[in-house]
Symmetry: C2
Subunit: 338 residues, 2 copies
């Protein structure tokens, strides 16, 4: 099909290897020759055959970002950042959808399915420390999110316990006493939401408020529908909450919907806080107070770490990096500052 190195070499009257060196800069080339080669490249419109290059180099130039849900705006926003960062570093990023499926996550860990990618950024939901440790070998792996902890891999996430603290402190500060949590999952310490639940409990204790198990609502997943259903259940309690902290913004938005349907006012009757700062939360009615992680930092760091590992660079610093977050106060807690 296209022009290849040989064509350029012939045109410029040099050897194949010299052209390769001009393209890659692997070894120095004289100025005159370089110009001649460059001219030939421009004239014929050469671009390297990536398949061949990767075959030779043993790498494909592809990295994957595997998330439990492509349609969760948090991941879409993160993906947008990660894709452009990867492109800037000469890599192509492909999205994988695990659909929060344990088998899919394991298949990715194992890596046999994807001999095509050089490395993986994974946001796990259904697998834990044991499964990760059982992994024998494979390409570089970077974790994001709160699904897994204490594994011998790079891990980029916010301090989820601290984030929960911040949310609960805010709700307490505006006078709320019966604060619910939506989005716990079964499984104790191995459940993916456990850090956020822990922060919730700790902050309640610090504020001198009782921990009421009935105010912790479990969900199957972390979507709008899950939040809506859980909120309905909470409202059906004899003594419903006066505030709700959602596992993420989607869950919180589902809760907003349930509250509106049931005729409760937000924030007067029930205040609502989420996590993620997805754009959607700036347009809900009322607008949604949220914990905003630094998505740009997370996306860029994850990609850069992964590529550094792929290219065999020594990465300084600890494996686990906690990125900053901020509390954005909006209408759903009655004190907008954004």
């Amino acid at each position: 099909m296209g022009v290849n190195l040989k064509d350029i070499a012939k045109r410029a009257g040099v050897s194949l290897a010299t052209v390769s060196n001009v393209v890659n800069g692997y070894r120095p080339v004289g100025e005159r020759t370089r110009q001649r080669v460059q001219q030939a490249i421009d004239e014929l419109g050469y671009s390297p055959n990536l398949g061949a290059r990767h075959l030779r180099r043993g790498r494909t130039g592809l990295i994957a970002l595997a998330v439990p849900e492509l349609t969760n705006p948090y991941f879409a926003e993160l993906a947008e950042i990660a894709i452009s960062e990867a492109a800037a570093l000469g890599y192509t990023l492909v999205m994988e959808n695990t659909a929060a499926d344990r088998g899919a996550e394991l298949a990715l860990l194992d890596g046999s399915r994807q001999r095509i990618i050089d490395g993986l950024i994974l946001s796990p939901v259904r697998i834990g420390r044991e499964e990760v440790l059982a992994r024998t070998a494979g390409s570089p792996l970077v974790f994001i999110g709160e699904g897994v902890y204490d594994v011998p891999h790079d891990h980029i996430a916010i301090d989820n316990v601290a984030a929960s603290h911040a949310a609960i402190r805010h709700l307490v500060a505006i006078g709320r006493r019966r604060i619910a949590f939506i989005g716990a999952t079964p499984g104790g310490d191995r459940q993916s939401a456990h850090l956020r639940v822990r922060g919730y409990r700790e902050a309640l204790a610090a504020a001198g408020l009782p921990y009421r198990p009935r105010l912790v609502a479990r969900t199957d997943a972390f979507g709008r529908l899950d939040g809506m259903r859980a909120m309905r259940d909470l409202l059906a309690l004899g003594d419903p909450p006066d505030a709700v902290f959602g596992y993420n913004d989607l869950v919180a938005i589902g809760a907003l919907r349930a509250l509106a349907e049931a005729g409760h006012r937000v924030p007067e009757d029930v205040a609502v806080v989420g996590i993620d700062d997805i754009e959607e939360g700036r347009f809900t009615t009322p607008t949604l107070t949220t914990i905003a992680p630094d998505k740009r930092e997370i996306g860029r760091l994850a990609v850069r770490r992964l590529i550094a590992r792929i290219e065999g660079a020594e990465v300084a610093g600890p494996l686990t990096v906690q990125t900053p977050f901020r509390l954005l106060r909006r209408q759903s807690t009655g004190t907008p500052d954004v």
Copy 2:
């Protein structure tokens, strides 16, 4: 690194080519040999090196889906479908973000940037018929959406004029007379929203309503923020509209926000309709009436068409396929049926 054909050949005591034939079925292999080879494959855990295969075959097995905005839920939902369809057909789909940038769209059309992909599904915004016709050659190309028409390529989209008709008819049916459109862009027939605007005008005429240019709001892009700003401008008119039809759901959601801020009731004062049926619209307050395209059909059809072209199959039927859509009535027009 991994096991390769040679390892299998040695283990099974056959030639390299025979193993390849067992794997690919390119030429018949005797039953006894096949079993021996298969056993070796299972024992050593062989999986083909895709880079090498693709180098030899001249294809990479990658297709791209290029959209103007990854964070638009419509495209995220579409991507989820397309990715799984591509995977089912043995291809890997990579997402490209054009960011609604003309240069990015042209670069993709040209194809020189992406020698890595076998084909492209493109949702254009800034390029038109001329640019597409000027394309000299390159890999197969399938268009989606309303950005372009009458080009010699496969094109999957809803009938946008008819979709607008349906939306406006609905608004007229519930008694609205001053119906605004949000999301026009400069450029007459070459503007990307022109089909939806045309449907809007035709339907007004059919209902015997006057066309008021001041009720057609232009936007730079098609996000929530654009919709919000445009709605604010419309409300500032001496005689504001009693209904709004948004270019898409995001724009409509932005309009909802502006209406809530300004203290207008939806649908009592102003009814709102969008297009896309993104999940978000089922959770807004009020829930959003929308035109729902069949995303599954669009995603699957686009991928299948593209792959058929790549593999050189004759594709029957016309190039342009119009997929079905439905009107989903929800609270924002006061007559929920969903």
